[in-house]
Symmetry: C2
Subunit: 362 residues, 2 copies
């Protein structure tokens, strides 16, 4: 039997509190865990997409889940709120969930963030397992233990940091994703290169076919995990993961609130954020011009350009001050000295923020 | 200058994550902490009672709090819910609270449980300080890090375990409490004797005047802390703190839901629970008859007797299965071999539950 190179390289990754398993091993480990753990009841949280596309596969591969109770929430960031949590807490109570119950979150980042929060707070915390089903959730939400929900327009305003007991990365689930969703996750992978690994950035920026991205998932999870392990509570080092996110989050929130606008996916918003923050880096922290230009060209090749009006830019900058990472009313940025060399806690003058949008739209 | 024996014995107590300070030292430590910690903003959570009776004293003693923002919630267990949390999360957002903000919870157990949960989940966790203002909150909620809110009739169904950065026990605040509230807290102190310390039980059971209780607060906090330190996540040892609470919680929930009934305070409900569970202990785990009789006599002396009808008992037993400490649909009790010697995870036959009520009412 031939075992592919990819499969052999997919060693499981030990995070702070969880083990991340890949491919076929993921199913086997879940089965073993269920056999060994003596849970009083098991719940699987799905949305309408993962119920249709992923749940049947999971139930076929992991027999013990046939008896699990299925909990359903509607997909979409607009449902990532306390009202949805309340419904789930009540559903768990009604189904007699107790402290020895297990919750399996099967979905994208919205679902795993929300499901993780509900599990972390139900009866002061029950075990949960994340099975991310989008590329973004696989490379980004799978490690680090961040859970949370939005409060009106403010993203992840309520949450806790608590690790899943196990994370399963099963690239098979990506087959049902639209290309736009894949590309959104690709933005976070590119970020892992920009903040940590120049050669990875070079490799990814040459990507021709998104279908081949899955072979890089393991490397991205591993890169992110290295950062999180060094600084679990985001005092210092971990902040580098926010590269592109300071402006990116504000852009994402803005488009989410404006019902007339087409919503930007998370990766699409932070792709813009990374170009803007690369420009600011070239002015404040010495990012070389050729690298700046490489960054802009690469993102423009993979992501559709967005045109911002002056009043839109104004609104986005107003949202910045609500970003949860800002202390003392100041906005702190992660910038780059060069690709692979980030700097944290940089403050940026107002005029540079505006001119970064001009550079992006040039 | 004469320094009283009591004051000298009030050494601060180191819990898992917090330091508990007593009397005048509490104010001084809070002042120092505020000076040394560089918080971006400070919030004080009060209810209508503590705003009137305790806040003015606190503001006078700790000057730096003059600039703090006051957050108000209505008192009462019926407001210990997610709707109240949502209002507070929104108030914090509107007041531009960030990750470097501090929340000070000034109130009884309802307020510190809820305030601790809101702080632990706002932006994935900000610092909070608890200043319990009832005897119950001082001896019970001050250590252990349990936070949470109710879900309909189900107590503390949603919450996390997270310690305050500091707990201040200031018995001065007890002066405004009604005697009924004092006696309610006394029930938890008696419990600390029953599960850990026979001599403490004997001492407390001789109490003539509730005004003298404050000298025992330090011992109760210290006894509870010893238990929590051995088992922070309530896997084993810590369960002993639930003595009297299995039936006590069900009784408390029942009276809370029945709007025609007068509500029982927490301590009043668990006082009954302790008599019931002492009776069960005498049948299942060998609690000597004379100790059982001592326990019943003592509680009957301090607490008003309640008469239960057969249908009320039925309803209370139905509520038992929803107790969050029950795993696999079974109800686990903490019982006593003797005063000071608890046993955990005991299952109790249905008929003994019923006859315990009969014994209580004899």
């Amino acid at each position: 039997m031939l075992i592919s190179r990819d499969f052999l390289s997919m060693q499981s990754i030990q995070t702070l509190g969880a083990q991340v398993y890949f491919y076929q091993e993921a199913y086997a480990q879940l089965s073993n865990h269920l056999k060994g753990s003596n849970y009083s009841s098991v719940f699987v949280l799905v949305d309408e997409n993962t119920e249709k596309d992923c749940l049947p596969i999971l139930l076929e591969k992991v027999e013990q889940l046939q008896k699990a109770t299925i909990l359903r929430i509607p997909s979409g960031e607009e449902n990532k709120n306390i009202a949805t949590c309340l419904q789930l807490w009540e559903s768990l109570s009604e189904a007699d969930a107790d402290r020895k119950s297990l919750m399996i979150n099967l979905g994208g980042g919205v679902l795993t963030d929300l499901g993780g929060f509900v599990a972390s707070t139900f009866k002061r915390g029950i075990d949960f397992i994340n099975i991310p089903t989008t590329l973004l959730a696989m490379v980004d939400a799978s490690v680090g233990g961040k859970t949370g929900v939005d409060l009106g327009p403010l993203k992840n305003q309520v949450g806790v940091i608590r690790e899943a007991v196990m994370v399963l990365v099963i690239p098979e689930f990506l087959k049902t994703l639209e290309e736009r969703q894949l590309v959104s996750g690709f933005a976070e992978m590119l970020k892992h290169g920009l903040i940590q690994d120049f050669s990875y950035w070079q490799q990814l920026s040459k990507t021709q076919q998104f279908g081949t991205l899955e072979e890089h998932i393991h490397r991205s999870v591993s890169l992110k995990n290295q950062v999180v392990m060094k600084d679990p509570t985001e005092k210092n080092e971990r902040k580098i993961l926010n590269f592109g996110h300071t402006l990116g989050h504000a852009i994402e929130s803005y488009f989410l609130n404006e019902s007339e606008q087409e919503t930007l996916l998370h990766g699409e918003a932070i792709a813009i954020g990374m170009v803007l923050e690369a420009y600011i880096s070239s002015k404040l922290t010495g990012l070389p011009e050729d690298q700046l230009s490489d960054i802009k060209t690469t993102f423009k090749r993979f992501f559709k350009s967005v045109v911002f009006t002056a009043s839109q830019i104004e609104s986005i900058l107003n949202l910045l001050r609500y970003d949860k990472k800002n202390s003392y009313g100041r906005v702190n940025f992660v910038l780059l000295k060069s690709i692979g060399e980030p700097v944290i806690d940089v403050q940026v003058p107002e005029d540079l923020l505006k001119s970064s949008f001009a550079y992006y739209m040039e």
